[in-house]
């Protein structure tokens, strides 16, 4: 039977936590600055099933054969999952994405939508 009593906060731990927050914030903000013209890749079960040039895409609503229960929407060169048959709706709530390093993942449908920079050669091989 343990009966451990811990201090609520130590100076050392506060510094660790604040440092982690700073690192995370920088990692969130960095990709948002880079808004070059971008390609959108829709992956299903690890396979690329559709590639869209978002900078030229017109506003549409579409579905794909592989995952016909999911509706995609492109608006103002941004893409989002408009509706999905999954239960958690995490993918819908992610909203529009447009800049490289942003992704939408729908776990129940094994679906990943990601944005890749168009003008430099990011590798396209998906594991």
């Amino acid at each position: 039977m343990n009966n451990i009593k811990l201090p609520f906060l130590k100076m050392r731990d506060a510094i660790i936590i604040i440092a982690l927050i700073l690192i995370g914030t920088v990692l969130i903000i960095l990709p948002l600055i880079n808004t070059t013209n971008s390609l959108c890749e829709i992956n299903f079960d690890g396979q690329i099933i559709k590639t869209i040039d978002l900078s030229k895409a017109e506003d549409t609503i579409f579905t794909l054969d592989e995952v016909h229960d999911v509706t995609f929407e492109i608006k103002n060169h941004e893409i989002k999952i408009k509706s999905s048959n999954c239960t958690d709706k995490i993918c819908e709530n992610t909203g529009y994405i447009h800049s490289p390093m942003q992704v939408i993942v729908c776990l129940p449908n094994k679906l990943v939508i990601k944005i890749i920079a168009n003008d430099n050669d990011v590798d396209l091989i998906v594991g």
Binding site: L9, I21, I28, V105
Partner: protein, 167 residues
Amino acid sequence: MKAKSYSKYVALMGMLLGVTIVLSIVENALTPTLPMGIKLGASNIVIMFALLQLDSKSAFSLVVLKSVFVFLTRGLIASGMSLAGGLFSTLIMLVLLKNVKPSMLLISVSGAVSHNISQLLFSAIITQSRYTLMYFPILLVSGIIAGVCTGIVLRAVLPYLYKTNLT
């Protein structure tokens, strides 16, 4: 397990599991409003309590039992996520407790963050895409915030639990 009485221990564990389940239901009722799987991880409060006041075996069994419940209500993938996150975060918290004399907030923050990291790795395996890992920065920050919240709740609740003489 050398409890004062075995039946008391069983009753306590049952109660803790009940609290875990209720917390996870309440949490899931709130989650759909948040994108990318950001969660409070309220049931981690109970796991931390078990780690601090009982022993690691109790904490791990709570994690496993909770994921069985998740399997019954939300299916295999959600259950796997719960198990992967729970086991890994409990392991990390245990290692920290044994080795670095952490404060309560460091335990809860590292628990929440490691929970997020292992769930992220698990979902990357399921989706077969390492691009899933791009959620990492957001889950790192949200995990820290969630960990601070659960740490504060645990701090607020512990004195009352000492008084009730549960363990």
